[in-house]
């Protein structure tokens, strides 16, 4: 058994590929992913639907084989070392799976019997605020409650590595914040968390590191601030005649419907110049808005394919000149 090449990574993935189907109908969902999840961190895998997040996680979880690539989870092989690994990991799948005819307490008791050293059922009910619902059958629970039962199972074995696939999708804002507190608490307790989400706010608030996935590849990695750093700030206002657009720092001007957006590398300078011009000419800039680069800016530009660092997926061919004739 090969040891983890880098013992500071709880999850270490190199060149991961995953293809569904065969022959002409084959679809490559994961196209060469490298991923490091530092021990003790919360790492978020962020991406639009269909980016390949779940396909990547399923390989890390040992539920599906990789088509190609190397994977080490806590230094072990997720398929070959399944028994040893399962005692140390807690997984939450994207969709919960429970028998509707068992109550919440029964469900947790059943799960508890499969765990080597489980925390008590009552403790888990309290941790996930499920005491009032303990004797309700699973089929009568709301989506958010079901998700909390699922999380209770995930955390029952006090796992070193927690893998959460969209834990807050479908939760109301209050439950979502509750889950965030819980996840932060896990890191504070020394666990490593790998989480997928398509909520930018969630990724930004929770994670130490971000991995942005698009079309089966990781296109950006780093802290949320570092990822946003290279991107321009934006000043926008309702378009009006005579407003200067060639301010210091402005690198791009976008006219969209009735708004003008200036993308700038020097927000403060550009904005000062703009406001100085407006004051001097006694012009009221309607709907003025100025913002620093955010994760949202980066994410949307990646999702729209406007990000220059993201190449188009190889199997989507751009029609050549004349090909359409």
């Amino acid at each position: 058994m090969t040891n983890n090449p880098d013992s500071t990574s709880a999850v270490w993935v190199r060149g991961l590929r995953r293809t569904y189907g065969q022959g002409a109908s084959a679809y490559e969902a994961v196209r060469g992913v490298d991923l490091d999840v530092p021990v003790g961190s919360i790492t978020a895998l962020l991406g639009t639907n269909g980016a390949g997040k779940t396909s990547t996680l399923e390989v890390i979880e040992g539920l599906a084989p990789a088509t190609a690539g190397e994977i080490r989870v806590l230094g072990l092989d997720p398929v070959a070392d399944r028994a040893a690994l399962r005692r140390r990991t807690g997984v939450l799948l994207q969709r919960s799976g429970f028998s509707g005819d068992l109550t919440v307490r029964e469900t947790l008791r059943m799960w508890s019997a499969t765990v080597t050293s489980p925390r008590s059922v009552d403790e888990m009910l309290a941790l996930l605020s499920l005491e009032q619902r303990a004797d309700v059958r699973m089929l009568a629970l709301s989506g958010g409650e079901t998700r909390r039962v699922d999380l209770a199972c995930t955390l029952m074995g006090s796992p070193e590595l927690v893998i959460l696939d969209e834990p807050t999708t479908g939760l109301d804002p209050e439950s979502r914040r509750e889950v965030w507190r819980l996840v932060s608490g896990l890191r504070d307790g020394g666990a490593t968390v790998l989480i997928t989400t398509h909520y930018l706010e969630e990724a930004e608030t929770l994670s130490d590191r971000l991995e942005i996935m698009h079309a089966g590849q990781i296109v950006r990695s780093g802290t949320p601030t570092a990822i946003a750093a290279g991107h321009p700030s934006k000043i926008s206002f309702v378009s009006a005649a005579g407003v200067p657009e060639d301010l210091a720092g402005v690198r791009r001007v976008v006219h969209e419907r009735d708004r003008t957006t200036l993308e700038t590398d020097a927000l403060q300078t550009s904005l000062s110049d703009l406001l100085a011009w407006a004051a001097h000419n006694r012009v009221e800039l309607d709907g003025l808005d100025a913002r620093s680069p955010s994760l949202e800016t980066v994410f949307l530009s990646i999702a729209d394919g406007r990000d220059p660092a993201v190449s188009a997926p190889q199997d989507i061919e751009t029609p050549k000149e004349g090909a359409l004739r």
């Binding site: 569904y20 979880e61 539920l63 399944r82 028994a83 399962r86 005692r87 997984v91 799948l93 969709r95 919960s96 799976g97 429970f98 028998s99 509707g100 005819d101 068992l102 029964e106 059943m110 799960w111 019997a113 499969t114 765990v115 080597t116 699922d150 199972c153 074995g157």
Partner: protein
Amino acid sequence: MTTLADRFSLRRTLSLARWNAVLLSRNRLAFVYAAVLPLLPLALLFTGERGAPSVGAGAIVTMFLVIALFPVYYNVLSQFVSRRDELVLKRMRTGESRDAELLASIALPGAITALVLSALAIPIAAALGQSLPVNPLLYAALTVLAVIMFAAFAYWTAAWTRSAEAAQLTSMPIILIASIGPLTNSIPDMSERLRDLLSLTPGAAISDLVRIGWFGLDGPGAEEATLTFAETWSQAGRPLLVIAAWTYVAVVLARRSMRWEPRA
């Protein structure tokens, strides 16, 4: 190094089986199929001449067919498929439970029902004038083998069963090859070749073993017990081989086509 305890935990399996039994008891239709229906064939013992081996054999063969098909085959198939549909199996596989434990725990409630009913059949039949099994060991072995064979059939069928509803249709082929032997057993003037061919079906092998092992009947037309304990063993060889062959095929096919989550 992996030990057997790493690969299969009896404690986990029994605990999961217990919860599967709880679930079964909460589903009225499934419960009737699994536990009530299989008792009905014993009513056949009240028909015909009291204590006649041919009557007894008919009732016990029918009971065996019913316990193999309902608590074991159909029940295991529909429980596995509905757990798979509900993503319960996928969820369980993210935890410490091993695949073999999940399979065994789903089969156990039906298997235990089958074993208990086949044991209960002995005093009930005796009270209604039938003799005790000539070869109880062979009878016990038959029960265990039939359970394993039909559980394997269930997991194989599950591979091409989309949903619990679809199981009503996909279970037909196995129900047919299981029933055809016992159903045609009583047809008197069947060609030797056809009877030979039918004796290779799983249901016919079970029927032969009941007739040999419990009633000491020698051959398909026999009416009176003639086989001794020792003779039952040599007569049992061929049907035991038939069951072993079907079980092997079912296990190989099931392993190859096993799916743990619904088709995308």
